[in-house]
Structures are given as structure tokens and as C-alpha cells.
């Protein structure tokens, strides 16, 4: 049974079509990473899954009582909002203190229970967001470029933590990422998105796919090109040729 199955969805953002004909399914316990250039509809896809965006066409089926844990890129944290880690962890459900401690420990952020969220470092902050997402024992974790504020070693550590969480809880993970080396080492499956699914498969397969190379460049396994975001144009031209 798939946790999430997405069939031929279309999503508009204003007058612009950001997703067209996307098919995708997520199985239990697998780590799936979505890569793609800016504006390729990665975030829209995630928003569609959690029900924050309405579909123009198509269908998204979630497993019955699917529990989702969402790790956002950032919070709209106004310094006018006082919030301790403890209070933040208690926000959604009736969760006892011990579960909070456990979740924070699992996420790699113990001993910051009484701290103000606004005073955490970038790494601690992302771990608290992760802890909140896993406290409810979700079937799937959704991460939207969760390591954006972190440096490379920091984000590598963070993804290690996610792998560990997956191993302990066997929850599936669907994440948007810009860090290609992370994609290569942790993901079971990579989805290359640019309005539609360009290619997908194991990290190695995707890396050697011509469509992927066209989008991200072929050199150094595409790592450099991915960081520089020099893509999209080639691909779009190709698409036009297809259509013509």
C-alpha cells in the first residue's frame, strides 16, 4: 500500500501552470528526494500533498489516517512572539514531557528545553523543527529544503540525523533538497522535477540520465552545476523542440 499516490496532477499559481501531469507515489519507509531548478514546482508539489494548494486537475490519495510530519524551511518568527522550545513542542497535541525529551534527543537537540526559540543557532533550530515533526510518530516526514540556513557540514549532519530517525521509526521521508551529495548518499529514490517529472530512479540512475544532465550539467556528478543553478534554459529549449 502506498502512503501517498499522486496521479496526473496539475497545479496553477496565478495564471502560471507550475505542475503539469505529475505522477508519483511514495512507499512505506523509503527516502525520496525531489531535485529541480528554482521555480520547478518542488514546493508546490509539497504544498499539494499537505492540502495547502488546490489541484487544477488530477488526484492525490493519502493512506487512511496518514500522519504527516512537516519540517518547514523557516518559521515566520517575529521577535515579538515569545516561545520556549518546550512550548513549541507542545503546540499541536497533548504530548507529555517525556515524549518531548525523547523527540528532541532523537532529533539530536537535547538540553535546550527551556531556551527561547529565537535564541537558538541555525543547527539547533532545524533540529527542534525536526523534533516537532517526529513527536507524533508520523508515517512520513516532509522536508522543504530544511537545511537552507545551514553550512555544508551542518546540513550533512542534519541529514544523517534524518537517516537515523528513519532507521529507528521506519517512517518514509520525502524531501526537497539542493545538496546533491546528500541526494546521492541518503536517498532510495530521486525525482527530478521541472514542472513535470523529468526522470526518476536510484540516485545513480538519475545522475546518468540525459535529461538530468541537461538540467544540471554533467561535470563532477552535477554537484557544481546544482549549486550554481545554471539550468532550466537548456531543458526548456529541448521541451520546445519536443513540442514543435
Amino acid at each position: 500500500m502506498n502512503l501517498i499516490s499522486i496521479e496526473n496532477i496539475y497545479v496553477n499559481y496565478g495564471a502560471k501552470t507550475v505542475l503539469h501531469g505529475v505522477d508519483l507515489s511514495i512507499d512505506e519507509g523509503e527516502i525520496v528526494t525531489i531535485v529541480g531548478p528554482n521555480g520547478s514546482g518542488k514546493t508546490s508539489l509539497l504544498r499539494a500533498i499537505i492540502g495547502a494548494t488546490s489541484l487544477q486537475k488530477g488526484k492525490i490519495t493519502l493512506k487512511d489516517n496518514l500522519k504527516m510530519g512537516y519540517v518547514p524551511q523557516r518559521l515566520n518568527f517575529d521577535s515579538s512572539l515569545p516561545m520556549t522550545v518546550e512550548r513549541f513542542m507542545h503546540l499541536s497535541n497533548n504530548i507529555n514531557k517525556k515524549e518531548c525529551f525523547n523527540a528532541l534527543e532523537k532529533a539530536g537537540a537535547p538540553n535546550i528545553f527551556k531556551s527561547q526559540i529565537s535564541q537558538l543557532s541555525g543547527g539547533q533550530f532545524q533540529r527542534v523543527l525536526l523534533a516537532r515533526a517526529i513527536i507524533d510518530k508520523p508515517d512520513i516526514l516532509l522536508l522543504d529544503e530544511a537545511t537552507q540556513g545551514l553550512d555544508q557540514p551542518g546540513s550533512a549532519l542534519f541529514y544523517k540525523q534524518i537517516e537515523e530517525v528513519r532507521r529507528e521509526t521506519n517512517c518514509a521521508v520525502l524531501m526537497i533538497s539542493h545538496d546533491l551529495h546528500v541526494v546521492m548518499s541518503t536517498s532510495d529514490r530521486v525525482i527530478c522535477l521541472n514542472g513535470h517529472v523529468c526522470c526518476s530512479g536510484t540516485p545513480a540512475n538519475v545522475a546518468s540520465d540525459p535529461e538530468y544532465k541537461a538540467m544540471f550539467g554533467a561535470g563532477t556528478e552535477g554537484t557544481l552545476a546544482l549549486y550554481q543553478h545554471q539550468h532550466g534554459h537548456d531543458h526548456r529549449d529541448k521541451e520546445l523542440e519536443h513540442n514543435a
Binding site: 504544498r47 515579538s80 520556549t84 503546540l91 499541536s92
Partner: protein
């Protein structure tokens, strides 16, 4: 007890302060001050219409406040920045309201009473309406408190938790409109936003959690209402503005105290 106009005034002031506290926190956190202002200014148009149609001022103000909230939502994200849009709507609705009132010949209206409140003239009936609104707002805030906090922090996070941020935002707007409508008699349409924001901003200095901030804001707001009324009585000043002045004075004093406390801490520890 309720025969005394001063007692009624104090109860009305404290009531508005209690509703304004949790709501004011969200206005501060979500940066909705200008939005609140637009709703409040639109209420004067509501007052004018109610006087023409001879319906209750409370109902008229509530309806127009909600209508304004709906128009803002409808127009937002179109051609203008939210800031500009609210600037147009807030001040034009005030202007239209004032012009509309001037057409009401035959009815003598004390305009100042609606702009700055007339808390000493609160009747037993007014008091009942005010407290009905206050209790409703407090219940709504209590019911949606955590949900609103989550969607304030991150809308997607709220969706993923199975919440409906759009609906919660409507509930917040509705609460704002109710508070504006019941507060007209107390501080008037021009000073309502002050009652929402100043106690909440003052409470921020002491609070470590969102709940603490709301409770402290309620205490500060209530004390300001009480102190403002006493001061207005002693100095023979207009009551609504005096309440806001007292709240602002506490804002300044506590901020200074907080600043000095931090300085001392950093020097000696």
C-alpha cells in the same frame, strides 16, 4: 452596583481589555496592525449607516467591519502592496464615514463619542452587549489558540497537522471585528488599535511563552482601563484617550526598566 456610571465604565473598560489582550497578541505577532486599523476605521461608516437605518450601532459597525475585512482579503495580492491597499481603505472609509454622518441632518450626533469613545455613558444594555462580545471573543481565542499559533509560525506546518489556516484566519478576523464593534463605546474607532497593541507590546518584555504574553497583556490592559478612568476623573480629561495614555506610559516605563535591567546585568554579571 451597576447603577453607578463609574462602575459601568470600569467594567466596560476591563471587558474590552480582556478581549483585546489575546487578540492584540496575534495582531502584533502577525503584523496585522494596519489591517486592524482599516477594520476599525470602517466601523465609523457602520455607525453612520446604523444611525440612518436606526439599527443598533453595534450591529452596523460589526457588519461594515466584516465587509471591510472581506474587501481587503479580496483585493490583497492583486495590484498593490498590502500596505498601500490598507492605506487606501482605512483612511477612505474613515473619510466616507465622516461625510456620511454629516448628511444625517435632524439627528444630532456627538461625533467625538464614536471617534474617541464615551465610556462614561455606557448603559446597562451597552455593558451587556460589550461583555457578550468579550466572552465570545475570549472563547473563540481559547478554542483556536494553538491552531492560530501554528499557522502564525508556518502555514504549511498547520496544513500538515490537519488544521485549516484559512478558516482560522477568518475566525481571527471575526474576533477582531467583534472587538472593534464593542470597543467603539469605550475608546472609539480611532483608539481601538492602541488598546490591542500597547498592552501586548508591553507584555512582551516579561513573557517567555505566548500564553504568558496574553495574560500579562490582559492585566496591563485592565489596569490601564482602571487607572485611566481614575485619572480622567481626577484631571477632568476625556476618558478614552486617558486610558490609552496610561497604557502608553506603562509601555514606556516598563521598556526603560527592562533596558536598565539588561544594562546592569551586562555590567555586573
Amino acid at each position: 452596583m451597576l447603577d453607578d456610571f463609574m462602575t459601568r465604565a470600569v467594567l466596560a473598560g476591563i471587558g474590552v481589555a480582556l478581549a483585546a489582550a489575546p487578540l492584540g497578541c496575534f495582531v502584533v505577532w502577525r503584523r496585522m496592525a494596519y489591517f486592524g486599523e482599516a477594520i476599525a476605521h470602517a466601523a465609523i461608516l457602520g455607525v453612520a449607516i446604523s444611525l440612518t437605518l436606526q439599527i443598533s450601532v453595534f450591529t452596523g459597525a460589526l457588519m461594515i467591519a466584516l465587509l471591510m475585512a472581506w474587501i481587503v482579503t479580496l483585493l490583497s495580492g492583486k495590484n498593490y502592496a498590502m500596505d498601500t491597499l490598507l492605506g487606501v481603505l482605512a483612511h477612505s472609509s474613515l473619510a466616507f464615514g465622516l461625510v456620511f454622518v454629516s448628511f444625517l441632518s435632524g439627528i444630532r450626533i456627538d461625533l467625538m463619542a464614536y471617534l474617541f469613545g464615551d465610556i462614561l455613558a455606557v448603559s446597562q444594555y451597552d455593558l451587556a452587549i460589550i461583555w457578550l462580545g468579550v466572552i465570545l471573543v475570549i472563547l473563540l481565542m481559547y478554542w483556536r489558540w494553538s491552531a492560530l499559533l501554528i499557522s502564525t509560525l508556518n502555514e504549511e506546518m498547520a496544513y500538515a497537522s490537519g488544521l485549516n489556516p484559512k478558516r482560522d484566519k477568518i475566525i481571527l478576523t471575526l474576533s477582531l471585528a467583534i472587538t472593534v464593534a464593542v470597543a467603539i463605546k469605550v475608546v472609539g474607532v480611532l483608539l481601538i488599535i492602541a488598546m490591542l497593541i500597547i498592552p501586548a507590546a508591553t507584555a512582551r518584555i516579561f513573557a517567555r511563552t505566548p500564553e504568558a504574553m496574553a495574560i500579562i497583556a490582559a492585566v496591563i490592559g485592565s489596569l490601564s482601563a482602571f487607572g485611566g478612568l481614575e485619572a480622567a476623573y481626577i484631571f477632568d480629561t476625556p476618558a478614552g484617550p486617558t486610558i490609552v495614555c496610561v497604557a502608553t506610559t506603562s509601555f514606556i516605563i516598563f521598556n526603560l526598566m527592562g533596558y536598565i535591567y539588561k544594562k546592569i546585568n551586562s555590567i555586573f554579571f
